[in-house]
C-alpha cells in the first residue's frame, strides 16, 4: 500500500527536542508506517543544538521534505523556530514532558505564534494526529494517500461499532 512506490525518499521529517520526547513522538512514525509514507526521524534541540536546528529547517525543502512534525515540551520553541526558517507546513506537537506544567507551557509556546509564522498545532501529546495531519496534507494532491486515509477512517468507525456490539452484548468489563 506504499503510496509513493517510485521514490523512498522521506517526505515527512519528524523531529523532537529531546530523546525523552520519543515515547510520545513515536505515535507519529507509527501512523506514517501504517499509511506507507516514507519519513525520517531525528532529535533537534532548539536550545542545545540551535545551529543544527537552523540547518535542518533551512535544508528541509531542498532535500525533499514536504511537512515537518516537531514535538517539544515546556518552553517549546522548536516548532515555531523551525516554522520561522522554512515555508513548509510545520506541525507542532506539545509534549507533556517532565519539566512541563501539566502541558500548558508546551501548548501555549507552540500554539500562540505571531502573525506571519503559523504552526499547525495538535492536541497535547497528539503525535499520532500529527502523523495523520501530515498524511492529509500529502493527500491533498496524492490520491493514494487520500484513499489510505479514507480506509483508516473506516477502520476507526468499525472499531467503534465493535465496541457498540460488545457493550450491547454486555461483554465490556467496566472495572
Amino acid at each position: 500500500m506504499n503510496p509513493t512506490p517510485e521514490k523512498n525518499a522521506p517526505q515527512i521529517g519528524i523531529i523532537m527536542g529531546s530523546q525523552s520526547d520519543l515515547k510520545v513522538m513515536d505515535a507519529a512514525s507509527d501512523i506514517l508506517e501504517q499509511l506507507g509514507i516514507p519519513f525520517e526521524i531525528t532529535i533537534v534541540s532548539a536550545h542545545r543544538t540551535p545551529h543544527r536546528m537552523f540547518e535542518y529547517a533551512e535544508n528541509a525543502r531542498k532535500k525533499g521534505l514536504k511537512v515537518i512534525i516537531a514535538g517539544a515540551g515546556g518552553a517549546a520553541h522548536l516548532p515555531g523556530m523551525v516554522a520561522a526558517l522554512t515555508t513548509l507546513p510545520v506541525i507542532g506537537v506539545p509534549v507533556k514532558s517532565s519539566n512541563s506544567i501539566d502541558g500548558w507551557d508546551s501548548i501555549l509556546s507552540i500554539l500562540q505564534m505571531p502573525n506571519g509564522v503559523p504552526v499547525a498545532t495538535v492536541a497535547l501529546n497528539g503525535a499520532g494526529n500529527a502523523g495523520l495531519l501530515a498524511a492529509q496534507i500529502l493527500g491533498t494532491t496524492n490520491a493514494v494517500i487520500a484513499d489510505a486515509l479514507e480506509k483508516y477512517r473506516t477502520i476507526q468507525r468499525e472499531k467503534v461499532m465493535r465496541s457498540v456490539e460488545q457493550l450491547h452484548r454486555g461483554d465490556i468489563d467496566v472495572d
Copy 2:
C-alpha cells in the same frame, strides 16, 4: 501573481460559525487574496445548521477544495466536526468571541481533538496565520505558491528592518 492562472475554482474553503466571527476571519481571506489563491468564504454553524455543515464537509473534496479553514468561538465544534467528515486538512481558528471565556474554551475545544481526527490549530484569533498555513499546504506541491510565500517572508523581514532603522533614528514615538 496568481499562482493558479488556469483555473479560478476555489482551493480553500473559509467557514465560520457566525457572522460575528467575520471580523476575525477576514484576515484569512486577506492573506489568500494577497497570495493570489482562489478561495470561497461562507457561514456554517455547527449548532444552528448541522446539516449544512455535514454537506459542506462531505462535498468539500469533490468540489475541488484542498484545505478548509474553520473559525469558531466558545464551545467551538465546527473545526472538529468538519474534520470528522472529510480527510482534507482542516485548520481551526479559535475565535475570542463575546461568549468565550478569554478564548480558553475556543482553544481547548478546537485543539484537544481525539486520536484519529486532527485539527491543525492556530493561535487565538490567528486567521491570518490560518490563511498562510493553507497556502503552505498548497505550496508543498505548487512552486508558484511556494515562491509567493518566500516573498511574503522577505517582505516581513524588510518590515522589521525598517522598524529597526526607525528606532535607531529615534523616529518611533512610544506613547
Copy 3:
C-alpha cells in the same frame, strides 16, 4: 418501585464518545437502575461515527426518549452536537479522559454552548448526577419518580447522619 410499569421502553438514552468513558458513565446507569427508570446505553462517537450521531440524535424523540445523557472527554463535541440535532434536553458529562488536560477541555467544550443550543452540564465525571438530573426532569410530571427522588434524598441524609454518629463515637479511622 418501577415508576413506569406499563411500558419498559427506554426513557433515557445514555451515550458516550468512547468505550473508555464507560467506567465513568456507568454511574448514570446505576442511578437509573436504582430509581427503576428504563434506559438504553450505547457508544456514539461524534468524530469517528458522525452519521451514527446524527441518526441517534434525530431519532431520539421519535423512539420515545425523553432525555439524553452524553459523556465525552477532551474536545468533547458529542453533547453539544446531539443538542443541536434534537430539542430533547441533553445532559453533558465532561469526562476526565486520558487525553484531557485535567478535565478543563472536557468542561469548556461541553459547557460553553452558544445561544440557542443549551447543554445541561454536570460536574467533571459527574455521571451519577446526570442520571439524577434526568430522573428529576421525568419527575416534573411523574409523581412516582418524584417520590423516588425524595426517598433517595432521605437515604443520603441518613447516610450523613450515620457518619456523624460514627465520628462522635470515635469510630472513624482517619488514616
Copy 4:
C-alpha cells in the same frame, strides 16, 4: 402561541442572587415570553436572605413550579443550595458579575456539585439558554412547547441562512 392556555400559573421560577444579575438573567425571561411559557422572576440571595432561599426552594414544587433557573456570580451558592432543597430540576447560570474572577469562580461553584445534588449548568452568562433548557424540560411531556422549540430552531437556522446570503452578496460590513 401560548402552549398552556388553560392555566397561567408560573411553571418556571427565575431567581438571582442580586439585582445586578438582572441584566444577564433577563434573557431567560425573554425566551420564556417568546415561547409563551408562564414564569415568575424574583431576587433570592443565598447569603443575604438564606431563610427566603430555604422557603423559596422548599415551596417551589408545591406551588406548581416545574423548573427553577438560578443565576449568581462569584462564590455562587444559590443554584446548588436550591438544588439541595428541592428535587425539581435546577438550572444554574454562572454570572460574570463585577466581583467574579472572569467568571471562573461562578462556573466552578455552580458546576462542581457533589454526588447526589445535580445542577444543570449552562454557559457563563447563558441565561437565554437556561430559558430554552427549561422549555425543553417542559417539552418532554408538552407537545405544544416541543413544537414551539422546533419552530425556534427553524428561525435560528433561517437567520444563519440570511447571513450566508448577505455574506455572499457582499453585504456584510466587517469593520
Copy 5:
C-alpha cells in the same frame, strides 16, 4: 497548659461536608489539642443535610462557640452558607477532595464571597492553619492562648534551626 481551665465547653466548632474530608480536617483538631483549646468536631453537609447546617450555624453563638472552621471540596458551599447564618467568624478550608479539579473549585467557591458575608479562607488543605487562625482569634483577648501561640512559633523556629544544623553537618539525605 489548658487556657480555659474553668470551662471545657467547646470554643471552636470544626465541621466538614463529608466523612472523606476528615483526613484533611483532622489537622485542625490536632493543633487545637496541642494548644489546649476545647473544640467540637462533626459532619455537616450543605447539600445533603441543609437543615442541619442551618441549625448548626444559627445555634453556634448561643451554645458558646466563638469561631467555626468549615472544610469542604468541589462546589464547596458549607463555609459560605454557615457564614451567612451566623456573625461568628467562619474559617473556610478548601479541601482537595476526589471530586475537585485540583482544588481550584474548592478555593474559588469558598474565597470569592460577596460583600457582606466574609469567609476567612486558608490555603488548600490548610486545616492546620485554620486551627491556628482560630486560636489567634481567641488570642486577641485571651493572654494564655496568645502565649501558647508565641511558644508554638518558637518551636517552629527551632525546628528550622535544627534543619539548618543538620544540613551544615551534611546529615540530610536528599534522596
Copy 6:
C-alpha cells in the same frame, strides 16, 4: 453606636503595599467607621520598606491592635510576612492591581501560606469583607460589636427585600 466608648485607641490596623491600593482598601475603613470601631490606616510596603513592615508587625500587639488587615497586589508578600511577625490574626486582601495578572498572583501569594503561619484571606478586592471579618473577630468577645453586626445583616437583608419589591413592581430598569 460606638461599641468602645471608653477608649478610642485603634483596635484594627489597616495597611497596604502601595498608595494605589487605597481605592480598594478604603472599603475596609468605611465598614469599620459604620460599625464605630476605631482603626488606623497606613502604607507599609513589604518590598520598598521592609524594616517599616517588621516594626509595624512586631509592635502591633503591644500598641493595642487586635487584628491587622493587609492588602497587596501581584507578588503580594505583605499579609504573609506580617503574619510571620505577629500572632495577631492577619486578614489578607488580594488586590487586583495594575501589575497583577487578573488577580491570580495576588490571591495565590496571599492564600497559599505554609503550615504554621495562617493568613485569613478574603475575596479579590474584598476589603469591605476584611473590615467585617475584623469586626466579627472583635465581636467574639464584644457584645456591642456583635449586635452591630447583626444589625448590619438586617440592613443587608432589607436591602434585598426592597430590590425584590422593586422588581415585582417592574421598577428596575435592566439597561
Copy 7:
C-alpha cells in the same frame, strides 16, 4: 553619575520582538539612563528575522555586552533562543502584547526553559525591573553601580514615606 565614564560602549543590549513592544520595553532604557549605564536598544524578531537573532546573540559578548534584556509576547521565543546562543545572562520580559492570552503564553514560553539554558524571567511587562536586574548584575563587580542601586532603593523608600505622610494628613484623594 555615570559609573563607566572612561568607556561609553553599551554594556546592556535591549532587544524586543516587535516595534509594538517598545512602549513596554522603554521602561528598561529609562532605568538604565537613570543609573547612567550605557546600553543599546533594537528590534530583533525570532520569527521574522531569525538570522539577525543568531548574529545578535552570537556577537553579543564579543562586542562587549554583559547582559541582554529580551522582551517578547505570545509564543515568545526570543529570550530563550538568544539564551541558547550566548552564555551571557539573558533577562526575559514577558510582554502582554495584543496577540497574547492575558500574558500567560508570554510568561510560560519565556520562563519554562529546559535544563541547561536559563532565562532570568521578570514579571509580566516588568521591563523596568529587567533594567534594574541588569544593573544589579553589573553591580556585583562595579561598586559605582552598586552604590547607584542603593540610592535608587533609598529614593523608593522615601517615596513610600511621603505617601504615608500624605495619607496621614488626609491628602490622598481615593477617587
Copy 8:
C-alpha cells in the same frame, strides 16, 4: 578547573524555605560544583525565621556573596523578600512543593514582583538553571567561568548528538 583559585570564600548563596526543598535545590549546588564555583547552602524560612532572613539578606554583600539563589514553594515569599533587602541579584526558584497548587502559586508569588525589586525567576523546579544563571552572572567579568560555561554548552550539544546517533542506529528503547 576552579575559576577562583586564590579565594575559596563562597560567591553564591543558595537558600531555601524548608528542608523539603533540598531535593529540588540540590541541582543548583551540583552545577556550581561542576563549574568549580564556591558556594554556601542553608535553610532560611521567610515565615518561620523572618529575622534570620533579614540578617542573611542584609549581610550577603558584605560577606562576599555575589548572587543569591532562593527556592521556595506555595506562597513563596523568600526570593522576593531577600531581593527587597539586598541589591545583589536574587535568582528565584519556584518549587513545586507538597503544599503548592501544581506550582502556580510558587511561580506567581516569585515572578510577579512590583517595580523596583526584581527577582530573576527560573522555571518551576529549575534549580539547575538557577545555578547556571548564577555562573553566567559571574562569567560577565570572570573569563574562567565564561569558558567553563562554553564547555558546559559543548557537552550538552554533544550529548544531544549522541542521542541522535543512538536514535539513527535504532538503539533507543521507547518503552
